[in-house]
């Protein structure tokens, strides 16, 4: 059976938007080069946990797992891990020069047994992906690995029963020719240390929403404080990094109210004795069912309409929040066992570089600018489309829908429908 050559598309970024765009294109026979700079597909969203109580709360985390599964099974999608864009030449088609980092673990040989992780002497030098669908499941992190530093350790290579690890490996450079580009480079979570008053990194029981997602994904909903106790009192602080004039971040991240409220409900469901307070400015909606959901939230959680600015640690390792009391306006000091900072969605760390390489502009907030007010996947350059949080804050489901739009636009550009 001879197939018409429908063209090829490069998708930059292997998070949920990139995965979805790649899969949507492949469904129609289009070749996709999926380029991801880290060692794992799935981006931030693959690190998120299920937030169901008895009921699914529609967070969408499970759909990321499913989409990743689709992509790794799809022969039309060629995945390029540890790959970064070096140069883009646009002359009708796009000729993209990419840098490929060393691949120390041979995915064909790796059986995901995990012995390398068990034996690695340096924390963080060898890490496991968040999903069973990450292939290979393990990766070596150069900033920590002793072999990369001074060739002083080869434990993983020596103990791998399959001989899948070769530490003496170098990266390479490659050139890929494609007809269109979908930019799905994602976001970076707000660095909570930029708000020093919260003591993130200083107090081990101050964590971010993303930390909590990872913890629950790894260990389940029976969360504990770093000293191993079930937290009796948990506080969520909203808008950490978002809606912050002082930082110049004039946007709502759109996902933090939903994730904080859903996680609070899930924790409360698992351990009804845990008291949860949510400090907020304005509650944002979670979906169609929000009015009903919000009634439940109000009966299960304490919602306090103020954002505390400082956290102190007490002698018995609790956290003290000071805020203005809602009834009398007098300062209240309240202790918590765990404080979760609802960090927001910031423009991707590579946005500036990518905008220069691709010749497309960023908006005043640092996200990619869309050409058209109504069609948010078009850029100022023909053949380059945007998907997901590259364009601005989005939930998992919104990113997926936006990626579908980008895929559809790319197909029109390729003339697939003619």
């Amino acid at each position: 059976m001879s197939e018409k050559n429908l063209g090829s598309v490069m998708v930059i970024g292997g998070g949920i938007a990139g995965l979805t765009a790649a899969w949507d294109l492949s469904r129609f026979g289009i070749e996709v080069h999926l380029v991801e700079k880290t060692s794992f597909l799935g981006g931030h969203a693959i690190q998120f946990c299920c937030k169901a109580t008895d009921e699914c709360q529609q967070c969408g985390a499970c759909t990321v797992e499913k989409m990743l599964n689709n992509v790794i099974d799809e022969p039309k999608i060629k995945t390029h891990l540890r790959t970064e864009i070096e140069k883009v030449h646009h002359n009708g088609r796009f000729t993209v020069t990419v840098n490929v980092g060393p691949k120390y673990i041979d995915q064909a040989k790796c059986t995901s047994c995990g012995i390398c992780l068990e034996k690695c002497p340096v924390e963080g030098a060898l890490q496991r992906g968040y999903s069973k669908n990450n292939i290979p499941l393990y990766a070596i992190y150069e900033d920590k690995c002793l072999f990369v530093k001074d060739k002083s350790c080869t434990v993983c290579q020596d103990t791998c029963p399959e001989g899948a690890i070769v530490l003496n490996t170098t990266g390479s450079s490659d050139e890929l020719e494609v007809d269109a580009v979908i930019l799905a480079a994602g976001f970076q979570p707000f660095d909570a240390q930029e708000k020093p008053g919260y003591g993130y990194g200083e107090f081990n029981n101050v964590i971010t929403g993303l930390d909590l997602e990872r913890l629950i994904r790894e260990n389940g909903l029976g969360i504990s404080t770093p000293d191993g106790k079930i937290p009796q009192k948990v506080a969520f602080i909203q808008c950490v990094g978002s809606r912050d004039e002082r930082l110049g971040n004039l946007w709502c991240s759109q996902v933090c109210c939903p994730y904080a409220l859903r996680m609070s409900e899930a924790i409360k469901h698992k351990n009804p004795d845990t008291e949860i307070a949510v400090f907020y400015m304005d509650v944002q909606n979670t979906g169609n069912n929000f009015p009903t959901f919000y009634e439940k939230v109000k009966s299960d959680l304490r919602l306090i309409r103020i954002i505390p600015s400082d956290i102190y640690s007490t002698e018995d390792n609790k956290l003290c929040l000071q805020y203005m009391g809602e009834d009398d306006g007098l300062p209240v000091k309240e202790e918590f066992d765990l404080v979760v900072l609802s960090v927001g969605i910031m423009p991707g760390s590579d946005n500036k570089t990518l905008s220069e390489l691709l010749g497309i502009n960023l908006d005043e907030d640092g996200f990619f600018l869309c050409l058209d007010e109504i069609n948010k996947s078009l850029t100022s350059k023909d053949g380059i489309f945007i998907a997901g949080t590259s364009q601005g804050p989005k939930s998992i489901t919104a990113s997926m829908a936006h990626a579908g739009q980008a895929a559809c636009e790319a197909m029109k550009y390729l003339g697939v429908n003619e």
Binding site: C56, R128, K132, D282, T397
Partner: protein, 562 residues
């Protein structure tokens, strides 16, 4: 693998025309996009025109003047397209059939038009409801709805007459009589910005929660305040007095910590943006589920963005959630992909054995027709399952009282053989059979294995396409053949791809527990648990706890006899 499957595949012809219901922006745009794919489109609209049939204000749609023109261009394109037939003042009367072969009837005045279509796209609009009555206010020259205010701002003449004839204080009320959403907030923000730019006018907003979870709204909120708009966020609905020309608003301001009294010249009351009242009728006619708050989509992530619970019937724009134009456009392009994927070139290759009805056993009791969550079943002299519509969940097969339906790859004989094989060949002493929905429990098991999480030695997993396919017979057979414990793992409520497969599984597990007790077995040997694909650690703890429980109960007493 693909080659093996080919033997069981057949090619069928399907109709590639598409019905689009609703001629608002989303419907008109959908018709245009789908026609560009080469399909013929029938676009029906209840009102007299398309594009913006409800004559919604441009500000509500988020349209600037240039975009308004683009909308007109779209309408012209659709009206003149030889791929699109537009029927205005037209209602849907009935639909029958299955994807690829729907028969639809629509009425235009006294005329009834019948049409075959392969797919249906629902693009009803949202409804606006003025909420002044909820605030116990009467509309008057000085008490306006949000839409009325927008009309004034849009008309040079009215704007001069009403706003510029003297200093005016304009107060807005929003978010006290409904939860609201960013689109409601955006309208208010656009209006107050325009008012604050009018000489001598001041704008005040009394708001519940400021819904800014949309692109550029936080910036618009800031811009307004910089231009002098004052936002108050009282914790309770303000006390409002309306006495002819004299208006009063009193509330306790949580920031100033005192009562604030406003005496505005004009009061603008919020409007709710909610689901179209037509949706219920459309849902009945199309046999699709009506979701929360009257929108045409269940709250189920597997359906997002544009699927309904029936294959071949899609929902876009505000028919499924409150959407402004940008997100309606996103939906439209997604539906174009789905329609193309479904209809292709009119030839579809489908498995012959996805769900097979034994015509000798079927007595057309129509249990299957009623329980199929995908509306995939119809009948002539026997039940027929559409291979295009069928999602292979197997709920019908498990519910059929005559055992007349078998699912390809998961037929009863195969599954019973698998149960026997597992019990006979398991490792270790204890036999724990876990029936897993392939979308959740099975994936969670794979994750637990890949991550080297603790799993009992005697664990055997049996994959089913949906928990709704786990028959009581499978559970009881497991015990009869010597299983010491059985777990049924289903998706969480609201996450089942077949909507209610999980609740059916739960009911059956309850029934099986009752049977166990009646036969003198401990019912604790069986449990039903909901789980998601990304819950490897929960999978591990669920099966480990079950192993502990069984150890306390002892091995299955039937084991030695079998």
């Amino acid at each position: 693998m693909i080659e093996n499957k080919n033997a069981n595949m057949e090619e069928i012809e399907i109709c590639t025309d598409v019905l689009v219901i609703g001629g608002g922006f989303a419907g008109t745009k959908a018709a245009s996009e789908i026609a560009e794919l080469g399909y013929k489109v029938l676009l029906i609209e209840k009102g007299p025109g398309i594009g913006n049939p409800k004559e919604l204000p441009g500000t509500l749609l988020g349209l600037s003047k240039g975009e308004d023109k683009a909308l007109k261009g779209l309408v012209d394109k659709v009206t003149s397209s030889d791929h699109i037939e537009v029927y205005t003042q037209t209602d849907l009367i009935s639909t029958t059939g299955v994807p690829g072969d729907f028969s639809v009837r629509v009425s235009k005045g006294p005329d009834i038009i019948e049409h075959k279509v392969g797919a249906i796209v629902v693009a009803t609009e949202f409804s606006l409801e003025a909420l002044h009555e909820k605030y116990e206010l009467n509309l008057a020259a000085n008490v306006l709805t949000q839409s009325q205010m927008e009309e004034i701002l849009a008309s040079e003449k009215d704007r001069k007459k009403i706003l510029e004839t003297g200093p005016k204080d304009v107060a807005f009320l929003v978010g006290f009589c409904q939860e609201g959403n960013p689109l409601v907030m955006e309208r208010v923000m656009r209006s107050v910005l325009a008012i604050s730019e009018t000489e001598g006018c001041n704008a005040y907003v009394c708001a519940g929660d400021i819904k800014v979870a949309s692109d550029s709204l936080e910036r618009m909120y800031r811009d307004g305040r910089e231009k002098g708009v004052v936002y108050f966020k009282p914790n309770e609905i303000p006390k409002i007095t309306q006495d002819g020309e004299v208006l009063g608003i009193v509330f306790d301001d949580p920031i100033m910590r005192r009562d604030i009294k406003l005496a505005p010249d004009l009061l603008v009351v919020e409007e709710a943006i909610s689901a179209d009242q037509m949706n219920q009728k459309v849902a009945e006619l199309l046999r699709i589920d009506l979701g929360p708050w009257g929108f045409l989509q269940n709250d189920n992530v597997h359906l997002f963005p544009v699927h309904s619970n029936r294959e071949g019937i899609f929902v876009v724009g505000s028919s499924r959630e409150v959407q402004g134009l940008p997100w309606a456009w996103v939906d439209v392009e997604n539906v174009a992909l789905e329609v193309k994927d479904l209809l292709g070139d009119g030839k579809k290759t489908v498995p012959k054995d996805k769900a097979v009805v034994d015509r000798g056993k079927c007595v057309i009791c129509l249990t299957c027709y009623r329980c199929c969550p995908h509306g995939a079943i119809y009948w002539d002299t026997k039940a027929i399952i559409s291979p295009v519509a069928c999602q292979g969940c197997g709920i019908c097969a498990s519910e059929c009282p005559n055992n007349a339906i078998q699912i390809g790859g998961f037929n009863d004989v195969q599954i019973v053989e698998e149960i026997k094989r597992h019990i006979e060949s398991g490792n270790g002493d204890l036999r724990l059979i876990v029936f897993c929905c392939e979308n959740s429990g099975f994936e969670a098991w794979q994750m637990a294995k890949a991550f080297n999480m603790q799993l009992p030695a005697g664990l055997s997993v049996i994959k089913v396409p949906c928990a709704g396919k786990i028959d009581i017979h499978y559970i009881m057979t497991s015990f009869v053949k010597g299983a010491d414990g059985v777990l049924v793992l289903a998706c969480h409520n609201g996450n089942c791809k077949s909507e209610k497969g999980n609740t059916r599984a739960e009911l059956r597990a309850g029934e099986a527990q009752r049977l166990l007790e009646e036969t003198g077995f401990e019912k604790d040997r069986l449990d039903f648990v909901t789980i998601a694909s990304n819950m490897g650690s929960e999978f591990s703890s669920v099966v480990v706890n079950m192993e502990e429980r069984i150890k306390e109960l002892g091995l299955n007493p039937l084991r030695n006899r079998s």
